[in-house]
């Protein structure tokens, strides 16, 4: 009878195997006597011996077998075999398991049940397996996936009524206040003007306010709200906005300027994507377009060559990820690239972790393996133009030319290279007869230099003129057009044609550009086990609300994927993005896990507020600037950070927003602020990136390896004063001034930086040239421009902390100077102390 079952071979893994046929409800279910038997003899055993591993409460459900309902106990688990067949004792796998007859399938695992109990089970099945337990047995992933909050369409909620009805300014405030009132809490006081200005300046532009800005705001006679509105609009219009908020996105986009992994190759053109992102934030490119350009910008209409270039550059998102360029198997390399693209796309725009499904259906989220390979098909049907290669992998060697005539120029360059190659071949051929003639003379003992034969003279002339032609051809190779990292569509050719080309190219050791085609599923993620292809498509998790788009045979599907993501009916996209913005403004999202809205992610602290924000955001044209503006103009955002003991006890993390929870500045903002105080900050954006310039020192892409001694590290210059977003971001080679302050990791989608505090940060602030030089530079201005010590202390505090010193602080500094009128050197030491102190890198 055991042959009926597909039994797992390992005893350790033996569980109830699995099952397909849903047994019809048996009339036995209704027979009161039989139900009583079940209740008395069967249910207690199930509860005591089986539920621990085979009910939804189980920490881990063994073999996907749930026996907590009639349906579940009969259906069985992962083996696909019926576990209980009413009336068929020997055919019921559950009975087999408790009989302990097959050593591969013995349940419960802690020991055989008493014989009497086994007989009860046999009797029960014999009688018809009466079971009053209605309902469906579903694995948690199934249960939750259907009802999981983030997969439901957002609902527009009216803001709740609140008691303190005078307090709210925006609907946001009412949602927040209602929750506070439920807990019997009240919001903190409003922050004072100086605090607010500093908070807004740092949050919106990554730089503290100047003393002029501070004075102007403090002196503004208008009501606070009005005066502040003007400040916010000024900040939103500054280029610093894009530099700071662009950097936030670059974290999400896992932006890096090299491939990482074991062969860390520079990406010379990644900086164009960086600049595009910064520009997109400064221009307030609507978020739906911002997303679409990154996935399918090359496929969208463009009115001007510049617009076309911008959209091409945006697709760099897909190919700036880390790459395993030392992977010797081309298919595996291709699958790894697609995996990065799937991961980045799903996490960045949807906060879903899809790449578990590379090997098996996602354990928690409703992302089956088929969905993964449907996406893989889309990305594998696209070509990566990255400008990076190793001697092992050259698939991504080409980059995308820009400019109106970029393609033409590239074609000319290629033609010119071909001409050179051809001439070179011809030249080699010409040398042969010439050399033969020379040899002939030599063998006759004639010095051909002095007495060349007429034939030789003619041959030499031919060689020389060809040499000149070759030199001219080399000279005539046009200059490169500008390049970008980008993707474009694979080729529309048949599989046969493509395979023939593949064969041909294999001989030449050349990579073959991808064609548009579906991807097979690779069983368990193993590249050597392809199964049937799945049609290219988008994830199916909310296909009820948002139908799958049609992807034509000649299309990769990127366009459809982009449209699907930014479709207002997609329940995730807007929520995920407004949550990211909220996270940056408050230090923690309404959903904590900004990159995971799946079942393992956190739930929203204010679900109705999140929905409302998402819907309003879409209705308002997906404008980031208006969203930021709206939030920072709420009273909630403008609360002081003062601690209230009761509130702190109930909600120590401040997730209810009873106060503004202080945030730590990221490394970028800290470094930029130091340069800002010192007056050294260079506000101009660099023309490109150091990475580009260093990469160009090597003619060929495959020579641009960071790890090659004295190549990258000896060239890169950290003594530059650009804003941090423009510093070179080669993976695993990030400058100390940024690295020591953050666990910035351009290998991963990082929506929330991890704040760390380590002694190396203290040492950097105490001992680095950067901090000393900027401190000294400010100190010199201080001493030269302000006569009295009192005035100097004031100005120092207002410049560095955007506030007046307390009297205790004033006394402390006077004591530090020991009554002497301090010179610039002494002041530099004090300025540095103010920079080192925690307040400078805290956003209150």
């Amino acid at each position: 009878m055991f042959t009926l079952f597909r039994v797992r071979t390992s005893f350790a893994a033996a569980g109830f195997a699995l099952f397909l046929v849903a047994a019809p409800d048996s009339e036995a279910a209704d027979d009161p006597k039989q139900v009583a038997f079940f209740e008395e003899k069967i249910r207690p055993v199930l509860v005591n011996h089986c539920y621990e591993c085979h009910s939804p409460e189980a920490e881990e459900i063994e073999s996907d077998y749930l026996l907590d309902t009639r349906e579940g106990i009969r259906k069985g688990g992962a083996s696909g075999v019926d576990a209980v067949i009413p009336g068929d004792v020997d055919g019921s796998q559950l009975v087999a398991a408790i009989r302990y007859g097959d050593e591969r399938l013995q349940m419960p695992p802690e020991g055989k049940l008493p014989d009497a109990v086994i007989r009860d089970f046999e009797t029960w099945v014999e009688m018809g397996a009466a079971d009053p337990r209605d309902g469906r047995s579903r694995l948690p992933r199934e249960i939750d996936a259907d009802s999981h909050w983030s997969f439901q369409p957002p609902v527009r909620h009216d803001p709740p009524e609140v008691e303190a009805s005078a307090w709210p300014r925006d609907a946001i405030d009412r949602f927040v206040l209602a929750e506070l009132e439920k807990q019997g809490l009240a919001p903190a006081d409003d922050a004072d003007r100086a605090t607010l200005l500093r908070r807004a300046s740092l949050e919106l532009t990554g730089l503290p306010p100047t003393t002029t800005e501070l004075d102007a705001f403090l002196a503004d006679p208008r009501p606070d709200a009005e005066a502040f509105e003007e400040v916010v609009d000024r900040l939103l219009a500054e280029p610093g906005f894009g530099e700071r908020w662009g950097r936030h996105w670059l974290d999400v986009a896992r932006f890096g300027e090299s491939s990482g992994y074991s062969r860390n190759m520079l990406y010379p053109y990644a900086w164009r994507y960086r600049d595009w992102v910064i520009g997109a934030f400064n221009d307030d490119l609507p978020y739906d377009e911002f997303v679409a350009h990154q996935i399918a910008g090359d496929l969208l209409p463009a009115e001007t060559p510049e617009e076309r270039d911008r959209k091409i550059i945006a697709t760099g998102f897909l190919t700036i990820g880390p790459k395993t360029l030392n992977e010797s198997n081309p298919l595996l390399f291709e699958l790894n690239v697609a995996d990065d693209q799937i991961d980045a796309t799903c996490r960045a725009f949807l906060a879903l972790t899809a790449n578990c499904a590379r090997c098996h259906d996602h354990k928690y989220d409703p992302i089956p393996t088929d969905d993964y390979y449907a996406l893989a098909g889309i990305f594998r049907s696209s070509r990566n133009l990255a400008g990076v290669a190793t001697n092992v992998r050259a698939e991504h060697e080409a980059a995308r030319p820009l400019g109106e005539d970029g393609d033409k120029r590239l074609a000319e360059i290629e033609a010119a290279h071909e001409l050179v190659a051809m001439l070179q071949e011809e030249y080699k051929e010409l040398l042969k007869p010439r050399d033969a003639l020379r040899k002939e003379l030599e063998e006759k003992g004639i010095d051909w230099k002095k007495n060349p034969s007429p034939e030789l003279v003619a041959a030499e002339t031919r060689v020389q003129s060809h040499k000149d032609k070759l030199a001219a051809a080399r000279e005539g190779i046009p200059e490169n057009p500008p390049f970008a990292m980008a993707v474009d569509e694979g080729r529309r050719i048949s599989e046969e044609e493509w395979l023939a080309e593949l064969e041909e190219n294999k001989k030449k050791k050349k990579p073959t550009d991808p064609r548009i085609a579906d991807s097979p599923v690779y069983v368990r993620g193993v590249h050597t086990s392809p199964a049937d292809p799945v049609p290219r498509g988008v994830p199916t998790l909310f296909s009820d609300d948002l139908p799958a788009p049609e992807i034509g045979p000649g299309e990769s599907g990127r366009l459809q994927l982009a449209e699907w993501i930014v479709n207002p009916e997609n329940p995730l996209s807007a929520r995920v993005y407004v949550n990211r913005v909220w996270h940056h403004l408050f230090g923690v999202g309404l959903v904590d896990t900004v990159d995971n809205f799946g079942l393992l992610g956190a739930g929203p602290s204010h679900p109705e507020l999140l929905d409302r924000l998402a819907l309003d955001f879409v209705a308002d044209g997906w404008s980031t600037k208006r969203l930021v503006r709206r939030i920072v103009l709420t009273r909630t955002w403008q609360l002081s950070s003062a601690v209230n003991d009761r509130a702190h006890e109930i909600d120590p993390d401040g997730r209810l927003r009873w106060r503004f929870v202080p945030q730590r500045l990221e490394g970028e903002a800290l470094r930029d602020s130091i340069l800002h105080v010192g007056g050294g900050l260079d506000r101009e954006a660099p023309a490109s990136s150091q990475v580009h310039d260093i990469a160009m020192l090597q003619e060929k892409a495959l020579q641009r390896e960071i790890g090659r001694r004295d190549f990258y590290y000896s060239q890169v210059d950290d003594d530059v004063n650009h804003r941090s977003v423009y510093l070179p971001m080669a993976r695993d080679a990030i400058f100390d001034s940024l690295r020591v302050f953050d666990s910035l990791d351009p290998n991963l989608v990082v929506g929330a930086r991890k704040v760390i505090t380590v002694p190396s940060q203290a040492l950097f602030l105490l001992n680095s040239d950067l901090v000393r030089e900027q401190s000294l530079s400010f100190a010199k201005r201080l001493v030269a421009g302000t006569p009295s010590l009192d005035g100097q202390i004031d100005l120092a505090f207002r410049t560095i902390y955007s506030r007046e010193p307390s009297s205790a602080e004033r006394t402390r500094l006077e004591a530090f100077f020991q009554g002497d009128a301090p010179d610039a050197e002494s002041w530099a030491t004090a300025v540095q102390a103010l920079i080192c102190a925690g307040e400078f890198r805290t956003l209150y």
Binding site: A833, C836, E839
Partner: protein
Amino acid sequence: MLRGTACGFGSLAFSGLLADRARASGNPLLPASGHRPGKAKNVIFLFMRGGPSQVDTFDYKPELSKKHGEEVAGNRQYFQSPWDFHRYGQCGLPISDLFPHTARHADELCVINSMHTDISNHPQAILQMLTGSFQFVRPSVGSWVVYGLGTENQNLPGFITINPDFSAGGARKYGSAFLPSATAGTAINQWGGGDGEGAPSLKGFEIPYATNEYLAPEDQRRQLDLIQSLNRERLERDRVNDPLEGIIQSFETGFRMQSEMPELMDVDREPSYVRERYGLDTETTDNFGRACLMARRFVESGVRFVQLDLGFWDQHKDLAGGHQKLADASDRPVAALLADLKERGLLDETLVLWGGEFGRPPILNKDKGRDHNADGFTMWMAGGGVKGGLRYGTTDELGYKAEENKVHLHDLHATLLHLLGLDHERLVYRYGGRDFRLTDVFGKVVHDIVA
């Protein structure tokens, strides 16, 4: 050595006590007693990044020779170790010819042949080995230990990591995550990795930004006092500001470090016989020798947890060449470390742990290398209250999968904490409304290897 008596721990639950002690003192680095006396006081973790092959090092598999050359799918074959094994010590522990020097300490070694872990990709497996989790940001093992026990020397970090590379999570490999940040590892000679040549030389290495070119030490001290008074005034005003407390701590430790660390790191001050023994000034062994010698000096000076990184044992190609090179670089230094600790009476209280993030299969691929294997691998421990001369657990007869007395890496972590007197189920930290442990919901102490 039992401190923390001021807290009057008596019958209190220790997990609560640990947290209280840190809070009460504001200094999570003050030494504390564990949940019960543990033999080990310190840990030196010789992390063999990349995954050394068990059947070529400490897991002797005579059966493999019988299958030698037998084809396996994918143009691969069963392949016996290119190195011979010999039995060493009273205990007769089989060790391959890769480690003739370490082998002389066979009677100190507790070799665990039945290690296994969950994932066979380097970045994830490395993070799991060093933090317990490959999915989430969690405190590193060293941070947990320092959190549990504090550290003996307040002028030094409690946790030092030597030659870590930037890969696989970078600083996360020694980070404190949500634990007090003072428990995070301090990196010496962090390096860029990538070229497979190993860490740059430690010779003359100075901790970056550890010297000030502008201020005399007394002036910097005054500057630091100013910084800290500003910090404390701000803290008083804020009343609650955990991050600021972390900053205050980081300056104290940083400042003290810059005076003591350079002295300790200057291993060239050691007598020549010591330097020779560790292989200093011999090209192959110099770097790891310095690391091991520093580790001994750190432990002797009261550093709780020292982590050394040596790699990259990832020989997908040329197993014979690659493993030999790394063994040559490390065998003498490791043997010297064990001998030195023993002679100084430190081995009893110092747990030395050796191993990588996973192992390798008994199979040779077409490039004459071995690929990854998370199902079975070997680590060894010495000193610190483990049974020496023991070969614990087995893999199957070919050395592929852990079979008898399997030890998951969560079990290893549980055992490591146990040896230090910490109960892995009670060493918890409440964060975001939940108690976290190094071993999450897993981990069983392997009592059989505890002396």
